[in-house]
C-alpha cells in the first residue's frame, strides 16, 4: 500500500531489524522485509479476520501466540516466525483444513494454483493424520458466470469481507456455527437467485482455493487474483491508482 510516511517503528523479526510503519501489522512488516509467514485468511485491502491461525507467531514477553495479521507492531517488539512448535502447529492446522472439506486436488479447477495446496507443500504436509470428515455438500452452479463449490471452501471469509467492504453488496456471509459453519448468499438461496449480487466477480478473484471459480474452467485452469482487492482499496482510500502490474 502506498504510504506517505516513512517506516519509523523498529522491530526485530527473526533476528532482522525491520522498520515498520506505525499501526502496521507484523505480517505486513515481515512481508516487506521478505520474511515469509504462512497465511490463508489474510487479505490486503480488507479487514483483519484472524481465523485461519496459520500466521501465528511468537512475540517476546507475550505468553500466547499472536496472529501476525492482527498484531500491530510496537517499538522494539521481538517476533519469531519460525520454531519447531510453530511448524508443528501450522502443519496440523493445514491438515485440519484439508480434513474438514473435500479437497480433491486432482479434479479441482484450481489444481496447481491453489493457496491451500501451496501451503500443504510449504508446510511439509504429505498426508493428513486426523480423520477426513467427508462432509456432504452440494455444488451451486446456478450463477450464470461463476460456480460455488462448498466442498473446497476453507471459511477464510475473504469473499465475505471483499463483497461487504469493497464491493459494498454484502451478498455473502457465514451461517451456522462450529462444524456447521457455511457460506450463504443472501438468505441462503442459490447464488444465481441472490438479488443483491452485482456479478462483479471480486469474491471469485480473492478465493484462495477452487471454491469460487469462473464457469467453464476445467481442472487446473482457474487463476485467482487476490491482489485486485489491495489495488482497489488502496485506490479508493488513498486516491492513488497504481499500475497493477507494478504491484505484483
Amino acid at each position: 500500500m502506498a504510504r506517505r510516511q516513512r517506516p519509523n517503528v523498529p522491530v526485530v523479526i527473526d533476528g532482522h531489524e525491520v522498520m515498520a510503519y506505525p499501526d502496521e501489522s507484523v505480517l505486513s512488516a515481515a512481508d516487506r522485509e521478505g520474511i515469509r509467514i504462512p497465511r490463508l485468511c489474510a487479505l490486503e485491502g480488507t479487514s483483519v479476520h484472524g481465523g485461519c491461525r496459520l500466521c501465528v507467531v511468537e512475540v517476546a514477553e507475550r505468553h500466547k501466540l499472536m496472529p501476525a495479521c492482527g498484531t500491530t507492531v510496537v517499538e522494539d517488539m521481538e517476533v519469531r516466525t519460525r520454531s519447531r512448535s510453530l511448524d508443528e502447529h501450522r502443519k496440523l492446522i493445514c491438515e485440519l483444513l484439508l480434513a474438514e472439506g473435500n479437497h480433491v486436488c486432482a479434479v479441482c479447477v484450481s489444481n496447481g494454483a491453489c493457496e491451500l495446496q501451496d501451503l500443504a507443500e510449504e508446510l511439509g504436509v504429505d498426508h493428513v493424520r486426523p480423520d477426513y470428515q467427508f462432509p456432504r455438500r452440494s455444488v451451486d452452479a446456478s450463477h450464470p458466470k461463476y460456480t460455488f463449490d462448498p466442498n473446497r471452501c476453507v471459511l477464510c471469509t475473504r469473499c465475505v469481507r471483499t463483497c461487504a467492504e469493497v464491493e459494498g453488496a454484502h451478498v455473502w456471509d457465514l451461517a451456522g456455527r462450529a462444524s456447521g459453519s457455511h457460506l450463504i448468499a443472501d438468505l441462503g438461496q442459490e447464488w444465481g437467485e441472490a438479488p443483491s449480487c452485482t456479478w462483479c466477480g471480486k469474491c471469485v478473484a480473492v478465493c484462495p482455493t477452487g471454491a469460487l471459480a469462473w464457469k467453464g474452467k476445467a481442472v487446473g485452469e482457474m487463476r485467482h487474483d487476490p491482489s485486485l482487492v489491495a489495488f482497489l482499496s488502496s485506490a479508493r482510500e488513498q486516491g492513488e491508482w497504481v499500475d497493477r502490474e507494478a504491484l505484483r
Binding site: 480433491v104 479441482c108 507443500e121 504429505d126 477426513y132 467427508f134 462432509p135 456432504r136 455438500r137 466442498n151
Partner: protein, 183 residues
Amino acid sequence: MTSPKHAAPPLPRLATIWLGGCSGCHMSFVDLDEWLIELRRHAQIVYGPLVDRKEFPEDVDAVLVEGAVTNTDNLELAHQLRARSKVVISFGDCAVTGNVTALRNLVGEPGEMVYRVYAEHPDRDGQMPSEVIPDLLPQALPLHHVVPVDLFLPGCPPPAARIREALESLLGIDDSPHGIRFG
C-alpha cells in the same frame, strides 16, 4: 551386473500393489522408462500388477501401495502387506488422501452409492450387480487410516521423476530430498 561368482548380498525386495485406484500411479511408474532397467540392478520386484504372482510374498523390503482402501479385499491386503513389509509407501493421492476413490463417501452409505451408480444413473440396463463387487467398506479410506504407513508419495499421479527420487533415496542410491505435492 554383479558377478554370480561372488556371493553378493541379496537385492532389496520391492513390491507394488494396486488397491482402490485407477492404476494411473502404476502408469506413472512405468513412465520411469529405461530407469526401470537401472532399478533392476538395485532391487528385485517381487510382486505387483506387472509380476505374475498370486499372493503377496513374505519379507518384502518396501512396497508401493496405489489406491485407497475401499473394500474388504483391499482391507485384507492392506493388513497382509503391512505384516509382510518393512517399509510401506502410500503411492499417489488415492492411497494418501482417498482422492477420487473416496468421492463415493460423499454419496452416502455403500448401498446408496451402488444404487446411484448402477440403477439411478445407469450406463446401460440399470441392473444392480449381484456378485461382481466385493463387499464395500462403509467408507473408502487413505491407507494410513487403516495400517501404519512409513512414507508418503502424494500426486495424482506422482510424476515419474518424483517416484524415481523417492526410490533412489529409499534404496540409498541418492539421498537428496524429494518434493511433495497433492494433485
